[in-house]
Symmetry: C2
Subunit: 244 residues, 2 copies
DNA sequence: ACCTGAACACCGTTCAAGT
DNA sequence: ACCTGAACACCGTTCAAGT
């Protein structure tokens, strides 16, 4: 987790890139991407808007740095949890991948602005870091080299997309943020809307509508991970099984 | 494909929601998300900024409508191509899913702003439409009901994430947009950067770096689709194979 | 009913001026 | 070297006024 700083900054400590990024993360967590403003940031840091530009080139770099910080924290925590003997003796690659995936899932749930930011930043350092960790476990699974990149990519994109969707759903009920109660309420609402869709246009969505309310988001997320893991291992066993 | 309108609008035809959305898509395609401005839009439509608000509630709705239009066009085209006897006699569900996936992939390649927009919009109509089409094919595969949603979701998120990444890569070389030559050049540059990463921090990325330049993006994308399809079918054959 | 365009309250960013 | 804060060039959105 990113370091929590006090609401009102003590002005004695000088401005620094680190403090700016920390304050930016706080603003983003509380008010979303539109909440990050150089003026709001300056007020929070008890300085002027221009001062920030001495430590940071602009808003883009600030957003990247904030995203990078969150992801780095997440991977450090997930990596430690997976490889420390304190957890489970020696984790299988599958277990390590699940732990990694859940780490990203929870991080994006805590910081909903991170998802869109990751998707936007092409192959910059945060995505690279996640890919690196996933790729090592894919290698540990014994997947042939030629299929490793595709395997890690499939996991990566699923993790990013599902986490993003989940975070967007959570933000969908704008009243209270962390309440688990109103999230299930939100899902019930969505389910009701789906059930009323045009049967000719949305037959599949309708049949699936009543499964929605009971879902545990994290469990459902892991189901998808397992599904892709199954695809990775069986595809490696019988290479190029399906022609295109 | 969305209807191309002339650069300078003939001012005889009255303003309409449809014309506004068309002009918005043109602006987005040419200049990206930041290029869509009510002032630029007004100039293009030979009117004032305020006029647009009579047909559209605001920028958010305009962006949603533009995204919806692109996705609707794409699905209409992909659906027709997959189900028409003119193409191949009767397509298997796998082939239909690949066609659908490629349709979205190409659409996001043509309209890079669509990807982030789709990811942002939770379970609104464009995503729902894609899910519906994917879900029908998943049903056609004979997947049990309980696993259908997870299967369609995995496909959906992979498609969205991979298409997005590809579009971001294409936009990464800002000089010429459609040139296939400089995209491979871009990948060569990325590969070179990856090869020089710290061996202790990025062992996996380094081993994978030299595979990057030769890749056909669309083929690589389909490899991932096939991998997930393999997971879907084998998971259905042996339910809950991997515990969590 | 539909359009105009000035005006309002914001932005990110710059930069002369201070310490 | 680091900070200040006014100023610039933009935004999305509103709204009285026109036709």
């Amino acid at each position: 987790m990113a370091t929590r700083t006090r609401r009102t900054e003590r002005r004695e400590e000088p401005l620094s890139r680190e403090r700016i990024i920390g304050a930016a993360i706080e603003l983003l967590d509380r008010a979303g991407e539109s909440g990050l403003t150089f003026r709001a940031l300056a007020e929070r840091l008890a300085t002027g808007p221009g001062a920030i530009y001495w430590h940071v080139t602009g808003k883009d770099e600030l957003l990247s740095a904030a995203t990078d910080a969150v992801v780095a924290d997440t991977l450090a925590a997930a990596g430690a949890a997976a490889s420390t003997p304190a957890d489970t003796a020696d984790a299988t690659p599958q277990e390590a991948i699940r732990a990694l995936a859940l780490g990203v899932f929870d991080a994006i749930d805590d910081h909903p602005w991170v998802g869109p930011q990751l998707a936007r930043t092409s192959w910059k350092s945060p995505m690279l870091r996640v890919m690196e960790h996933l790729g090592r476990q894919v290698q540990a699974l014994g997947i042939p080299i030629a299929a490793q990149f595709a395997s890690a990519s499939a996991l990566m994109y699923y993790i990013l997309g599902a986490s993003n969707q989940n975070a967007a759903n959570t933000a969908g009920a704008p009243a209270l943020q962390p309440g688990a109660a109103n999230r299930t309420e939100f899902l019930a609402t969505v389910s009701a809307v789906w059930a009323k869709l045009d049967p000719d246009e949305y037959p599949f969505i309708r049949t699936v509508a009543d499964q929605l309310p009971g879902h545990d988001d994290r469990a459902e997320f892991l189901t998808g991970i397992d599904l892709i893991l199954a695809g990775i291992t069986t595809s490696a066993a019988t290479p190029s099984s399906t022609p295109h």
